[in-house]
Symmetry: C2
Subunit: 223 residues, 2 copies
């Protein structure tokens, strides 16, 4: 017995995987709450280590709070630019500062995705790899991303923030940790390629560079 989906269904799934983009440009059009709920339900179908379901989502509907979150991100953007300047050079720093790295004030919805508190209770699959809770939350976010793309909604994952400051802003308890500011919204267009490629910030490496067999080999192609 085959459990494979129809060719049409498979094509839709491969299409959404290929067409999903990390968006920074949004239209302000609001997202209907039923639709947002549907997207969150897709996230909630994610796998999780030991079925701990460590994801929590905080919807930011308060405009003042949205501005405070934007401010945190903008501060970290400058610290990141400095760090890039020190590691690379000032040209690279200037290039970074020209990039649009978030659309927090422009998008229809802002969600903060966080790791729950009291995670130490969950040992299954985490004794040697406690960070598997983040892996589970990331799978949930990827589900949300794909469902959003299918609905014609763009999403951007912003990780330019100080997690302690954001946790404080959101009254999060000890042990809980924010891992993503998610901007969701309708868009004028989806980027054809990842925005960082379109903007000339970096290039993509091919799959062949990522594959090895039976052990680590130096698989990086020489330029």
């Amino acid at each position: 017995m085959s459990f494979a989906y129809s060719e049409a269904d498979k094509a839709a799934i491969y299409k959404v995987i290929a067409e999903r983009r990390d968006m920074r440009h949004f239209l302000p059009t609001p997202i209907a709450s039923e639709l947002l709920q549907k997207l969150l339900q897709a996230a909630h179908h994610a796998p999780s280590v030991g079925l701990m379901q460590p994801w929590r989502f905080i919807r930011i509907s308060d405009a003042t709070l949205r501005h405070s979150i934007h401010k945190l991100v903008d501060e970290e953007r400058k610290f990141t630019a400095q760090a890039i300047g020190e590691f690379d050079d000032t040209d690279r720093m200037a290039e970074f500062m020209r990039l649009k790295v978030e659309g927090i004030l422009d998008c229809g919805e802002v969600l903060v995705a966080t790791l729950c508190d009291q995670r130490e209770k969950h040992i299954f699959g985490r004794r040697t790899l406690p960070e598997m809770d983040l892996a589970s939350v990331s799978c949930a976010i990827q589900n949300l991303w794909l469902a959003a793309r299918a609905e014609g909604i763009g999403m951007g994952w912003v990780s330019l923030f100080d997690p302690q400051q954001l946790a404080q802003l959101l009254n999060m308890p000890e042990g809980a940790k924010p891992v993503a500011i998610l901007c969701l919204g309708y868009v004028n267009t989806f980027y054809k390629s990842p925005m960082l490629v379109e903007e000339g910030w970096t290039t993509e490496k091919p799959l062949a560079d990522m594959l090895m067999e039976n052990g680590w080999q130096n698989n990086e192609r020489q330029p």
Copy 2:
């Protein structure tokens, strides 16, 4: 202009998100290498922080190596059981030992997913949250999981292993880190619910428990 997919395409995408399972029971039928390549290409379409593409996949085609990996997992299974016994009680430990936690020796393909080395070069989106590389690899694994389900192939993510020992077994360089042993294979049936629910290990909490607005609230339902 709407970028939403057709109703049929959206339905296929929601279906695969809902029907994906973390599998532990497999048939030994091999997976055609073109199909495996297609699944890996789906993984490779994942988003990544600063477009760093930190995922590496090591295909385990050597039977002896597969057995060595299984041995590592079985050792960690016993350490985990002990830790659960100490944290909870001996009944819970016994329940854990009765669960099938992996299908490494049964499945058609084993892949090890790892974080690449030299990750410290990538500052964008990681200055305050260096673990965003794991988030990216997890998105890639979720893509692989969904594509596999659409192809009628089950996948299980095993995180019961000592990452240092597995890294050594695979000759991984300093800085690289294995984060998943992925079992892929055809199956007799897909679990109707997550296996840990079917086996009575735990129950699932509803989405409503995961949602908050404008800050952390005690959203856990009272029993």
